[in-house]
Every structure is written in C-alpha cells, then in structure tokens.
Homo-oligomer: 333 residues x 2
DNA sequence: TTATTAATTGAAAACGTTATCAAAAGGGAG
DNA sequence: CTCCCTTTTGATAACGTTTTCAATTAATAA
C-alpha cells in the first residue's frame, strides 16, 4: 500500500544513509553502490514510498506530463484513439492528462500544470499555439506544404488505393464508395479523392460511383445502400466505422450475403472492426500504431524541439477479414 | 501574455516590497493595505505573472485538482455529462483532469498528482476505493441502503412517474415503453420498474406494454417500433437519447406525425434533445444540474470528509417540447 | 509628549525533491 | 606507509510558494 506521507528523509533514517544518497538510489544513479541501492530500494518499497511530484517538478522544471486537448468529446470517433494513446504512454516515462475544455481554456490549464507537451486534435484556425512555448503536435490536419507545427496524419490516398487494389485483385470491377462528401471537411474529401484516383489508376474509371451518405453515422450508411445498389456493385467501400455498420445491416436485410454477393471494406482500422456482424476487412492506420506514432512524435518534439516541423503521413494497413471475397461475376472486363 | 518564468520575487523587487507581502496580496489577504495590494496586483499583471502550481502545492498540500475517472470512454453516453462537469468546475477554485485508464491505473495517476478528490462513474466491484485516503463520490449506482461512499444518482422512478403522468394528463392511455430490459443493467431495470409502477399508480395497469430494444443505440430504437405499434399506442416513452432518435425516424417513415398521431417522451435530459428531428419532450435530471450536483458533492466531500456517506437521489425535471400533445383518441376510459 | 494598541510589513522556516560539490572511504602503486 | 586516484557518500543550496511570527509603522489614548 502506497503511503504518500513517507518522504525521502524517512527512508534515509531507516536505511542509515543521507537523504541525498536516497535520492540518487531512487533515480538509479550510477554514483551509488549496488549494495546500498538495493537496501534503500527495499526500505522504500516496504514503507510504501511514493515520490512527491510537486517537489520533484519544482526543482526539475519538468513534469513528465503531456496534455491531450480534445474539445469535441461528444464526437466519439476519436475515443478509441484516445484510449490507445493513453495506453501508449504507459510504456514511456510520461503520463497523460486530458482536457475537454475549449482550446483556450485547455491551454491555460495545461500551462498551469506545466505540462511538458501537448497533443492537439484537429486544428483551430483562430489559435496560435506556437505563440506559447509549450511543444505540441497536431493530429489529423491535411497540410502538404511546409507546416508551422509538426503534424501526424494518416495517408488517406494510400489507404484508398490499397482498398481498391485489394478488391480489384479479387476480380471486382464495380466498386462503389459510400461516404460523406462535405466540401468543408478536408478529411472526407481526401478519402473521396483517394478513391477516384485509385479507380483511375487501376483503369476502373468507368466504374466510379460515389454515394454521398450525408453524414457519418450508422443510419447514414444504412440508408445510403439503396442508392449504392443502383450501380449493381460487387463491392463497396464504406467511409467510416459507423457508416459500415449500417451498410452491413441494410445489405443483410435485403438478402445479400457478405462477402458472397457483395464484398465490403471499411475505412478506419480499429479493433472493433473484428467484432461486427461480419468481421470487417478494413484499411487505415491501425489505431494502436497511430497512437504510438503520436506519442513518439510529441516526445521527440519535447526532447529535440529545434528541428523544423514536418508532416508525417503514416502508411496505412489493409487488414483482411471476412467481409471481402472473390467477385461473384466472371471478371471478363 | 502569461510568463511562467516570473516569480513572486521579481514582483517584489519591482513593487519595492518583500516577497511575503506579494504572496499575501496575491491571495487577497486582509493583512495587506489596499493601496499596496493594488500596486502589487498591477505589477503582477503587467509582468504576466502566473503562480507556480508545484511550489504552491508543495507547501499547501493541496492541489485544487479533482480527478474524473472515466474508463469507458468509448461509450459516449456520458460525454455530455463530462463536458458539463468540466464547465461546472470553472465556477469553483478547482480544476478537473480526466483519466481514461482502467480504474487501478487511474487511481494511481491521481494519487501521483495528489488530486484533492475523485469522481467515479459507475462502480467497480473489485476495487475498494475507500482503502485509499482520497475523498471521492460515485455517480450512477443504484443503492438504497446505507452506502459505503457518497452516491449521486437520478431518481429514475420519479422520472418515469412524471413522464407517465404528463401523458396521462394529455389524455393518453396506451403508453408503451421502449427500452433495454437487461437484468444485469440495474439502471435500465430501474427505468422499466419505474414505468410499471407509474402505470399502476395511475390505474393504467391494463395498458402496460414493454418492448425490449435489446440495446440502447439508434437502430435499436428504429427497429423496435414495429413491435411497439402492436399495442396501438397513442404515446411512447423511449429509454434513452439514441433510442429515441431511431424511434422518431421509424415513426415518420411509417407516416405517423409527432405529436399529432403519437406522442413521444425520451429519457435523458440533455440539451441535444431540443435539436432532434422533432424537438423532444424529455425527462430526467437536466445534465447541467446533474453536473452541478456532482461537483458540489465532491467539493463537500473534500471540505467536510467526516460525515456519513449518503445516497443523493436527484429530482428529475419534465422538459416539455414539441413531441407531446393531446391524445388523438377520445379519453373515454 | 509618551505609552499602548492596531495595522502593516518583512524575515525566515518549511514543503520534498534534485543537483552540485566537497568530504570520506577504499584501492593500488611506489 | 604514504600518496594519489577512484569510488562512494553526505552537506547544502536551490526550486517558488505559503505561513508564522517578529518588527516596524501608524494611530489612538493618556
């Protein structure tokens, strides 16, 4: 049982050494003899010692804490990423705290806490985070030119290419895309563009069919199916997790068997994809890798802050499960 | 612009006073003359002074920070509550940090940060949070006997009564309930029980009709409508926000007009209810009040921790919007 | 005036660490 | 046995606050 009232001095007394030696021992300094280190550690453990973060921070001027700004908590899309980032931090000396406040408030809170760095979801045009001196990285912003801050993002174009390519290799030609086509949402547009480019590259330009789901929720996918079926596709790509859930259900209700009659690939590479009504083949950067990269990026930014900011586009993975199979039609194209 | 390198001593030098006086001035101590206080505050403001939390914490042994444990971040139900709690804290001297880790990890993190208190969502049977010395309150646990820790919860039975009563007054008799009936989920069961009790109390026992939605998502509500219509109801009560969204859509697709043909009340009292396809009449504790109560409870718990823990059941509010109206049938019962 | 009290200010200790040196102990070599 | 060098340990000064109590100043009464 941890006891927060035990200090380094108590340990020193019990171990019969000076408290500066205890400090060194606890920080694995090479300056202390192995034997005494062992003894000190034993005593510390026995007393349930837990270092006082505030005291440490006061002298080190470092908190080993990173703040994650997530003002749009109601939009669940990022929840899985957040938990994965949290887990990724466990393997590092850093811990993470989360703020759900508006960006201005959040950055103030983090400054008060003196976090060593920040992770920012999306971009806020009205804020100049780089005016502050806290290192930060941004996730999920499309920016190809020289950025003002380090950006981590998935390579959506490459994702779409992999999806189309996979279906093409299985003999599919009529591959229909269902997703949101909202010009103000750069991320969605990038997916659509990626789909179009990939189809063209694979000489499937004639088969391009984009169905605007008018949203990214379950029911948007469910109700887009009728329009999608107009092109008599043998395969479909769903633009996001929730969307694909609705698509599966609608197809099954109409008597289609997946993947026998129609193959399905979904965007977003999260573990939940394996637990859907039909285990989903999906593309995208696996969310635990994404988390890992984001964590690495911010730590790098903290520890060598001088470098020029770069955009890091992560290579997506195609995760093949049971929702894709060979095209039912003879591929006589 | 805030400058974290400015200390109390810098201010003292510039203001021509001792740094202990500065400390008092900044803490609004009555021991310092108004005139000097003013001057010090001016200097502090001009220099962009921000107190060092670590130093403060070291001597005060208090952080003014409260930790919120929310391990099931993927279940969005509580997101609105979290943002409201966060906002509620803005009016207090406390700030909030969030941990999405498993309870064991979360409590360790919070201990390290030396939070003054914790808010726990739901209960974890395997953990004895009261073994630790940090004050905490629990939200959303049904427990009527003498609890081991302070509990805040909505009065679900009273909620249901208000809902049924409202519909009854509008002349409705056949009031059908759609919700999850999962025996292992105490909260859902409480709602169903509340509905049954209310119907009986209002002499509507013959009209009781419970439709198990087998879940709490949008589509669960959507697809439960057919079964609900079997009893030819003039009114329905939906067990949660998402559920009600699906119910509205299904009813509209079938050509029912709300509230002309069928009245609808939803459980959960969140602002989003006003923005649905049909602005929803709803019951439940308004989420901002709930947040307020939770915040008050943990602060109380911190500041007078000796009292016996109690269960606080909050009185629900019926918020009437456009989804309820008079029964289309003559109320000749 | 001078003594007495009240209002204001300041000096210094404390909070629990880390970090920097100086001091002590140990180990060879001459 | 002494000297020097290496290893290990310990004193002490920070870090930026709050808090306690002593010291000063101002105000009042005698």
């Amino acid at each position: 049982m941890i006891n927060l009232t035990v200090t380094i001095k108590d340990i020193a007394k019990l171990a019969g050494v000076s408290y500066s030696t205890v400090s060194k021992a606890l920080n694995n300094s090479p300056l202390v003899k192995e034997e005494t280190r062992r003894k000190i550690l034993d005593v510390a453990c026995e007393m349930g010692y837990e270092p006082n973060l505030a005291a440490k921070q006061l002298v080190r001027k470092k908190t080993d804490v990173i703040g994650l700004m997530w003002p749009t908590i109601e939009r669940i899309v990022l929840a899985t990423l957040v938990t994965n980032i949290s887990k990724a931090f466990e393997k590092t000396p850093y811990s993470m705290i989360l703020s759900v406040d508006a960006q201005e408030t959040a950055v103030d809170t983090f400054r008060k806490f003196q976090v060593d760095g920040m992770i920012v979801f999306g971009e806020s045009k009205h804020m100049h985070l780089y005016d502050y001196t806290i290192p930060f990285v941004v996730y999920g912003v499309s920016e190809s030119t020289q950025p003002l801050y380090p950006i981590i993002d998935a390579n959506h174009e490459a994702s779409m290419y992999k999806a189309v390519e996979h279906l093409h290799q299985l003999g599919h030609r009529q591959i229909t895309y269902i997703g949101q086509y909202d010009k103000s949402d750069a991320l969605q547009i990038e997916k659509v563009d990626g789909y179009v480019k990939a189809m063209k590259k694979l000489h499937l330009a004639d088969y391009i069919h984009i169905v605007d789901s008018n949203g990214l929720n379950w029911f948007d996918g469910y109700s887009a199916i009728d329009r999608a079926l107009e092109s008599k596709p043998t395969a479909m790509i769903g633009g996001s997790y929730d969307l694909s859930g609705g698509m599966i259900r609608a197809l099954q209700e109409k008597g289609f068997s997946i993947p026998h009659d129609i193959s399905l690939i979904s965007y977003d590479n999260i573990p939940q994809m394996a637990n859907m009504e039909v285990p989903m083949t999906c593309i995208g950067v696996p969310v635990h890798l994404l988390a890992e990269e984001i964590v690495q990026a911010i730590i790098h930014q903290i520890e060598s802050p001088t470098e020029e900011p770069t955009v890091k586009k992560l290579t997506p993975t195609l995760t093949i499960r049971e929702s894709t199979g060979p095209s039912p039609e003879p591929s006589d194209s």
